[in-house]
Every structure is written in C-alpha cells, then in structure tokens.
Assembly symmetry: D2
Homo-oligomer: 365 residues x 4
C-alpha cells in the first residue's frame, strides 16, 4: 500500500562537489526505475533548483555511463540554505526564507519523496524542511567524513586517496632536497582527511583540528629526524589545525552550533613558524579543491551504489526522515534530526591515532 | 613482566604476493623498535626461509620508504607448508615434515614470537605450529578477501581497485565495438573480488562461485540489453564460477576441508558457451596476476599499518595464538584455531548482492 | 574560393578502438565549426555506417567533454572493408563490393570531404575510395605505431603507458616470488609496443617480431640472471615474436601485401619452451585489449588535437588524398597512396634497440 | 685508444627535483658497467657534494629497481653554483668561488669525465668548469622544457601529465559548481608546461609568459562562454604570465642574461582581477611542487634511458663538452657552450599555439 503511494521521487545534491555523487544518482535512478517502476526528477544546482523550480527528468539513458564520472550531472550551488536564501535586490544581497516556495514547487511537480545528497549543512536544512512536512531520505556526502551518524561518507575514500597520492609525489622531492614540505588538506573541524592520508602516505608530522599542537613539539620532531639522518620531513596538516584546536571542535559538537569560524590556512601559518624557529626553508602545498574532483575510487562507487539502493529500500517501506548510514560495516539508517547540526570529529583514542603514534608520527602534542 | 619476556620477534610472509605486505612489515618493525625497544628478524621467502634458516635483520632504515612498495621485501615461496615440505631427493620431489627443523631454527635465533602474514593456507600451517608450542600472531592477508574471522583482509582493496580500473578500460572498447567482453578475475571459492569490482565498474553480468549460474540467463541478459539498445555487455567472472558452484563452496566451508579442486578458467568456458548460443563474438581478458602487484591503495596502507600495530599490542600484552582482524569497523582478534581451514564466502543475502540485483545486474541465476 | 567549396565534412573512425579517437573528433569538429563555419557529420560504426548510411550530426555540445574519454563516440565495426563487405545472405556470409553505395550515400548527404581516422587497413580502403573520386584526409591511428609515413600514431603513447604500468605491477610479484613472468602485448608485425613498454618498465628480455629469437639465448639470459642473484626475470613479448619473425616482417613490408597470417600467441608458446628447458615455472599475462581502452594520456590528447587541427588546415587549403603525420617533430602530411598497404617496423639499428642492448636487455638474438 | 683513457666517470644531478633523474643514473651506470667495464661514482647533493667531496660508488645493485622511482638517489641541493657558493662565515652567508676545490676533488677521485644532469643554471656552471679544463657531458633535465638546444628535456612529459591530470580533476568541480577555476603551473619564462597541459586538459583560457595578456580579453572569454551556456571556465596559467610577459622573455633570451626576476604568482593576481571585473568568485589552485615528484611516465623513462645511453656513447668516442639532446626525433648532441645562459621559449607561431587557438582557446591576447 505504501509502495503505491510513492511513485515520483526527486533528487537533489547539496553543498560542494564530491566524488561519488553521480554513482548515487545512478543507483537511486536505476533502482527506482527497474525495481520499483517509479519516475525520477533531478533538481538542478542543489537547493537553488528547488527554489527556482529548475529540473531535469532522469531516466535509464541519462544515468548510463556516469558511474565513473566526477562531479554531479545535476550541478550544485553556493545558495545552499533555502531558509536563508541570498537574493539580489536593489543591487545588494538580502537573505530570505524561500522554504515555502521550495515546498510548493515540490508539490506542484507531483513528487512524493526527496532523496537528498549532502553534508551537515544540507542535512540541517533538510531537517527543517521535514519539520514543515517534507518526506525525505538523506544520503551522507562529504569528503571530510565528519558527518554525525555514519562511520563513513561517500567521497571520503576518493579524497583521501587523492591526498595520499599527492603526498607520495611530494615525498620524492622532500627526500631529494632534504626539505621540510607542508601539505595542507581540507578539514576545518575534523581531521579524518589529514590523519588518514597522512598515515597512508607516511607523513612524519600530522596536525589535525582535534589535537592542539605545540609548535615546539613540531620543531623538536624535525630536529630529531635530522639528528637521526633524515634531512627531510613531511607535514600533513588539516586546514583547521590550531594550538587551541581541540577545544573549539569539542565545543562545536557539544553545543551543536556549527558557527563557521574561518579556521583555514594552517599550512602557511605553521610554515612561517618553523622557518622562524629553525632557520629552515619549507614549502607549502595546499591541495584544496584538487581532492574534490576526479573519478571516484572503486570503493566509493560501491559505497555510493549501496547507499543509493538502501535509500530506495527505505522509501519503498515508507520510512522517511532518515539518513542512510554505514555503521559497523552494515548499511542502516539514522534519524536526520539526530544528525543535523552535529559534526563527527576524530576521537582522541581512535585506533588510527594510536597506530600513528606507534609508528613514530608526531601529532603535535 | 610479560613485556620483558618478548624481546625478539620474527616476521614471515606466507603464500602469494599481495599489496600491503611491506606496509605491515614496516608497521610491525617500527612499532617494535620505537615503542617497545625490541629486535626484529625477517625470514626470507616464507616458510622456506624458516626451514632453511635464512633471515635478515630488520631495523628502522631497512623498512624506510617501503610503505608504498608492492611485493614483499622478504620474498615468498611456493613451498608454503612446512609439514608437507617438497624436497628434491634422487632427482624426484618427496614431501617431508620439516616443522621440527623450523621450530629448532626459531629457537636458535632466540626469537620469542612469530608475526605471520598470510591467508587460509598459512594460517592452517601456523595453527599446527602453535599446537607444537610456537607463540604466534597472525595478520590476515589475501587479495581474495575470503579469510574466515575478519571482515576484510589487507590487499583486497588494492586488488579490487586494480580489477575495477581494468574493467573501466575494457568498457570503452566494449562500447565502441558493440562487443561482449569477459573479464575473469581471481577467486576460486569466493566471489568478493568479482562482485565488488564488478559493481564498482558497472558490470552487466557478474558470476561468482557462490551462485550457480545458468548460461540461459546469461544469454537472455545479453539479448535483453541488445533489445534495449545496448549492443555491448561486460561480464565480470570469478575464476571459480560454476553452474554448480554454490554447492561446492558451501560444502567446503561447512566441512572445513579446502581440497583445492582446480575450478579456474571460467572465463574462456563461458565465452565459448555464449558464442555457440548467440553466434556472437566475445573477448576474454584474464586479469590474473595483474591484480596482485603494484602500489597498495592508501586504504590498504592504513589497514596494513593498523593490523601491524595491533599485532604488536597483543604481543606486548602476552596474547598469542590469535589472528588480528577487522570486525564491525573495529580492529580486534580471533583465535587462529577458529580461522584455520575455513573460507569466508559471500553470503547470498549480502547487501552488495541485493544492491547489484537492484541495479539490474544479472548474477547468473 | 577553395574555402567556399568545402562546407560539409564527414568523419569516420575505422578499425579497432584506440585512445585519442574522441580527442581527434573533438578537434576536427571544433576547428571546423569555430574557425571555418562548416558543418560536420559523423558516420556511425566505421565503414559500416558509411555503407548503411547511419550518421549523427556533430556540433559543439556533442563534442564537449569527450577529450578525456576512451573509445569513440561514433562507434566502430568489424566490417572494415567496403570493397569486401560481409553480408548475411541466405544464412551465410558473402562478401560484396559496397563502395558505390558508400560513395552514393556520401554524395547524398551533401558532404565535401571525408576525415578518416584509421590504421593501415583503413588507409588502404580509403586509398581505393580516393581512386574512385572521394576527397579524403587521413589521420593515423593505431596503438601499434606501425603505420607507414609517420613517426608516431595517436593512441600509441597511451597503449605503451598502460602496458608499461601493467609490467610495473608484474614486477613486484616476479621479484617477491622469484618467478619468470611473461607479459605478452599486441603487435603482430611490429614491435614498437613491446620494445618501448619493455624498456620503460625495465624488462629483462624483450622479444619483437622484427628480431628472430633463439630460445637458447633467452634461457641463457634467465640462467645468467639467476647466477648473479636475480632469481626472477621479466619477459616482454610482442604477440608476433617468432624464431623466423624478422624475415616475415621484412617480406611483408617490401612486398606491400599484408596478408594477415595469425602470428599471435607467442607468450604461451615461449612459456612452455622455457619450462621444458629450465624446469622452471613461468606465468603468462596477456594484456591484449587492456591497452586499447581507457583515458588517453595527455600526450595523446595533445597529439590528437594537433592532428585534427592539421587535417582541417589541409582541407581548407584544398589539399586532399593526404594523411596527416608527424615527422621529425613537425606535423606534416604524406600521400595516402604511399601509406596504403605498408607497415612500419622497428629498424634493427634503432637508437632504442641499441639503448636496450646497452642496458643489458636480451633481445632474443 | 680513447676508450682506454676513460675508466672512471662521475655523475651529478644539479638543480631541482625532476622525474626521470634515477632512470638516467641507472642507464649511465648500467651502460658504463656492462658495456664499457668502467667504474661510476655518484656525487651527493649536486654541486655541494662536488665541493665538499661527498660521494657514493654506483654499481649494478645500487641502481636496480630505481627506474620507476621519483626524485634522485643522489640528492640535490640549493647550493647550485660552485662559482658563487654560499658559505656561513661568522654567522652570515658569504659567496665564494669554490670551483678550484671542486676540480681538485674531481681529480683526486681519479675521475675522467663528469656526466651532469641539469637545466639552464647547471649547464651554465658546467660550461665555466669546462673552460677550466673539466671533461663533461650534459643531459638536459627540467620539468619546464625550456632548455636551449633540445626539443625536449626529460621530466617534462611527467610534469605535464601530472598537471593535466590535476586539471582534469578540477574540471569536474568547475563544471558542477559553475565556477571559474584557475590552475597555476610552474614556468617563469617559458610556457611549455601551461600550454601543453592546458591543451591536453581542455583549458578554456591559457596564459603563458611568452604572450602578453589583456585582462579584458580574458574576461570577455569568460562572459562569452557564459552567454553560450558554459557557466564555468578553466584557466591554466604559467606562473610567469604577465601583461608585458612576452617582451621580458624575448629580452632574456636575446641577451643571454637570465636575471632571475621573480615573475611568479600570476594565478592569484589574475584571480583578483577577474573577481573585481566580473563580480565572480574564482578559485586558485597552485600546483607548484606537485608536478616535480612521483613516478616518471613511461615516456620519460624511455627518454631518460636513451639520453643516458647516448651520453656514454659520446664519452666512449672521446666527445666532451656536449649536451645530449633530442632534435627532430633523433638523439644527438649540442655544445654546452651554445646552451649555457639561454632559454627556449614557445615560438609564437608554434603548431600547438595555432592548434589551441583553433580549438577556441583564449591565449589572453
């Protein structure tokens, strides 16, 4: 009976670009069409397309061959919060609540459920839309892996792989030139990307937002390596690394108010501190958007496909207001209301942190 | 007190080549030296080196820079069972039990514990050695991912990635030439590699040893695709795929007697069946050893590092006879006695199997 | 004035799949549209589409984003010779001359010139069509690099890169297992692919069709390596390698009659010879179609773009009957009549052959 | 007779890190040992090792397995000019002529010839050393491809490939987000890297030092693309791009005085100009050192091997004072005196520039 009720679904991709978006879109669309004989409508450019009613029908041919393609065939937009929607009026930007317009468009399109691919910002917005009556299922997307309620998000494995392979490249230069090389990766509040790619690529010093760093410890490590004959050092730094970092992150999570303090730029800052203290030239490479793009790893293609399939399973069973998630190796769900406004940071006693320390990696403390 | 007793450890890599071996060797050695002030000795060429007493001391420099290197710096050998050890006598091969020699060598080297990297065959041999008094900790290695007692083995992610990227390449040719392309991957008893790389690369038909296939279903799928305008089909086939496959695999696991029936060669067999039935040219690509080699993926480098670290944790706590494993996202252990002689096959109701079906993939049944 | 005469061009991709095909199609189409305000029509599935009059209009959007895509958006076909065109009549295949039909279709479409992407077979057919009045410009395509009249064909760099990276992977297994590993690559008459990828990946023994090999020399090299402590050897073999190989190739080129004797399968043959002589296990990996597919290397994308641009330059100048080529680092042209029916083999005194010998590589003689 | 005189050769790698260095070292060493029975000595850390007499003997084992490794096993240094050698005296840096010390060390080591891998700076220094009596052969190394006297340097293909693949990644983000993305690559005086990787990756706007750019043309191109429905643009910018750039470059080459004016940072500068003019957000990615490192492409491994082999050929023939080079597809040589102090920039009528324009690429003018 429930099965009958859902016959048209919408898909929207919120927030930043992320490898695997197209793989999810493909899985949702194929499953909906093949298994459940539904119709699928894609919104263009994230919430912008929902507010402005710009859509594209998705059928089998439209999603053929997109499994390996980076980016999103639906596009995305910076205008990512329909409750605080930027509009140009009289030459200046004002912010309006366009959620009613969005919901009206959704109804007029005859849609029953929204499948929403996004990170913490997107889930927070969806949560508010659900409160206003929208039926929705979320799929956790972010290269930062910092979404509450899931052990992993799609996109993270690809971003981590790209970052690690970039650090591999830097390694040969550092070694040949006896240089301090600093690689800054994304991650303002959570250090998953820096920690994982740093361990994967054998970084000597890894600084993440969760662990306050002491520049003296960092410099001591570099000197110690030199003393033992390694004239180079590789630093892998999450952009939000901070001498007070841990406290800020913890505070954010506890209070659930992700006020977006600009914490970035740790790489250049630490470079200048090291040069001053050690009279040593260092080079900074900011990976930034490089890790967002490109072909998703096979791991992410599989995860994206599983997430997309599971979203449809829940929809068919009439379960809404949930975000699909992976927990303890099982694909399951979590209420979006529990996810909204939270960030999942790296626990200080994580196995990977203990592994890193044991391998001799300096974590800044 | 226990900590004192272990001061020298040995490492051996059993069975076939696998990405991540060097990453484990590095993690074990670094952790042993840095954290626990132990000495580490590597056996050359697997159990052959243990029987023939060929070793190399492992120190910090020796394991520097090997994190990203494929293969194993210790070498491996086909002579993988010390209880059934092939020797050339009077011009012909006879098999002898050399386990006493192996254990004597181990003692003479003053070693306290053996860290053993291997798959089901290696774990079975280690289990017998433990029964004779050896202290050992196992680390699960195989590109097939079919080891009992762990959700994943190191090497699998790399092999799966290589396989999926190879299928990606085949895709363009299949599409341009409107051809049936058959990619055969390793996996005699378990279909993890075929199933995962097949879903990752969008295979149209995936045949694994666990699911008996009906050639009529396979041909019907190819014809159906043609009818709907897709003039090509990609088949991803585990080498052990068989019309009766599932039964053999189940039998094996239940009885715990992995009698190595040569099940390989499914690719060419199915190719000829298809050509006969559909009067259609098909091409077979056997990936074989291609997926064993090369640089491990960052995912595998992290997993290998965590496994190596955990092995040392257990050794320091005086816990022996265990294999390190990953279960429900946590690194833990399982008694080697429980692992020996078993194979972990893909459950027929696995989420990934249901995902594959939902995406329209034919699994041969 | 000439510029006026050419206002509509056709494109066809003949023969096998090859990285860079789409890059050429894009370059020709963009140049034709942007620079010369022409119309472009693509024939589907090679000469088959020309005979059967199946086409697709090519405009700016159609060729956007295809630069990095493997395969060909136009498709290709095995029915590659319009003068000897296989047709199913009364349940059996007969061969007919369909060239008049092809030319009639071409005229009816209002096309002025044909841009033809292909290898030696395609150029031979085009040459015959030119004799019947067709205006055409050829672009040299083949992963084998054996086309007469050009120093390099597009696709070769990509195929060579894929092959070399595959051999890299094999290397780690060979080294860890002390094994003889044999990698067979495409190349029936010319050894460019085997020689170049073999040198690039440090193959110990490289056998190409141009150089007759002596199995005793091959075995001696393997033994010599063992004697000096290298217990493994990597053989890179062109599929057409033959104890009498050189003579056949030379004969072919001189007489200009490329009768397609099936010379393939050298890999397995040599494997069995080695096993018999040295009582040594060896493994064969046949790369085959793996090197045809995938994203073209940046080198090939640039070369393809330059070739496509140059083809249009010639067309605008009213120069027909030519194949674009690269000679001594300059993009130039050669009459198709000089190219047709010839194969360019590796000269025995090539710098790369001398380099290989000097590095200690055994070339089988 | 000459052959007898050369029995010991030295190798030094000058200047920055570059893919292929190890491949050259391997080729020179293997050829010297296998073919000519010579001894080979490597200087550590470039000219620093020559001045300070730090060396390592190079034999067959030492160069085994380094073909695919990035960086240089010999190390390099910033102290790259022995005639102007920085020394710390009384707490401050003074520059001294240490060339006599260098030559004395060379003689004392019993070396006959120096094989010198480097770019324009290194060749200029070697030229001065030749004037003082040193026998030397140069091998052209630089990722910038701007060395006079050769069509290509080793390292360029690898760097260009890395850059193009990075731009590929950026493409998906740009497309999904409708953004202006600016990728800055190395190249202060010559635009080979920007132009080649830009064409390879389909950059919409490519700015190189040789062509003065007009910011109005750049902005017009972005607006024009938008007008035609492409809401994103990819800019590929050589770090030395400049509104007056061409003149500076030309002046440099003519006068032969490469005074190293810091021309870098074009990326951020142009980003701010665009944002101001078009009220459009843009993102800058500085690839920098990312393109120096990593595994050399198979193309570069082959070129490096050929260069290394040819250097030894010349040495054996008693030809000194030359730099090995590739000209019109042939490996040949050029007197180092002709190379020193010059830079090879992209000719304004280069085929690749004409190709780029024809494809609709804006070159800033």
């Amino acid at each position: 009976m429930k099965k009958k009720k859902v016959s048209r679904i919408g898909i929207v991709t919120g927030g930043g670009d992320c490898p695997g978006l197209n793989a999810v879109i493909r899985a949702v669309t194929k499953t909906a069409i093949i298994d459940h004989d539904m119709q699928v409508v894609g919104f263009l450019d994230g919430f912008e397309g929902m507010v402005e009613n710009r859509t594209v029908p998705l059928d089998y041919n439209r999603v053929s061959g997109i499994l390996t393609r980076g980016g999103t065939i639906l596009g995305s937009s910076n205008r990512s919060d329909p409750f605080h929607y930027p509009m140009l009026e009289d030459g200046k930007t004002t912010y309006r609540d366009r959620s009613d317009q969005l919901l009206a468009n959704f109804d007029n399109l005859g849609l029953d459920v929204l499948v929403c691919l996004g990170g913490d910002g997107t889930m927070a917005a969806v949560n508010q839309l659900i409160a206003k009556g929208l039926k929705a299922v979320g799929i956790p997307k972010t290269i930062d892996n910092d979404l509450w309620g899931t052990d992993i998000t799609f996109g993270f494995n690809s971003a981590m792989t790209t970052a690690a392979e970039a650090i591999d490249r830097i390694h040969t230069t550092a070694e040949s030139h006896h240089r301090v090389m600093i690689v800054e990766v994304m991650g303002r509040y959570a250090g998953w990307l820096a920690l994982t790619s740093g361990v994967a690529a054998g970084g000597d010093i890894i600084l993440i937002p969760e662990i306050p760093y002491d520049i003296e410890s960092v410099c001591a490590k570099i000197k110690d390596r030199k003393y033992h004959g390694s004239y180079f050092s590789i630093l892998v730094i999450g952009e939000g690394a901070h001498p007070e970092g841990g406290k800020i992150s913890v505070k954010k999570v506890v209070e659930g108010s992700p006020e977006k303090i600009r914490l970035g730029g740790a790489g250049n800052h630490i470079s200048s501190l090291i040069e001053k203290r050690l009279q040593l030239e260092s080079r900074v490479i900011v990976l930034g958007h490089l890790v967002r793009g490109g072909v998703p790893t096979p791991f992410d293609r599989v995860l994206s496909s599983r997430f997309g399939f599971e979203a449809m399973e829940r929809i068919v069973r009439g379960e809404f207001g949930l975000m699909v998630s992976l927990r303890k190796e099982e694909v399951t769900t979590v209420p979006i209301s529990e996810v909204a406004g939270k960030i999942r940071t790296v626990p200080l006693d994580a196995h990977l942190i203990r592994t890193a320390r044991s391998l001799g990696t300096c974590l800044g403390d």
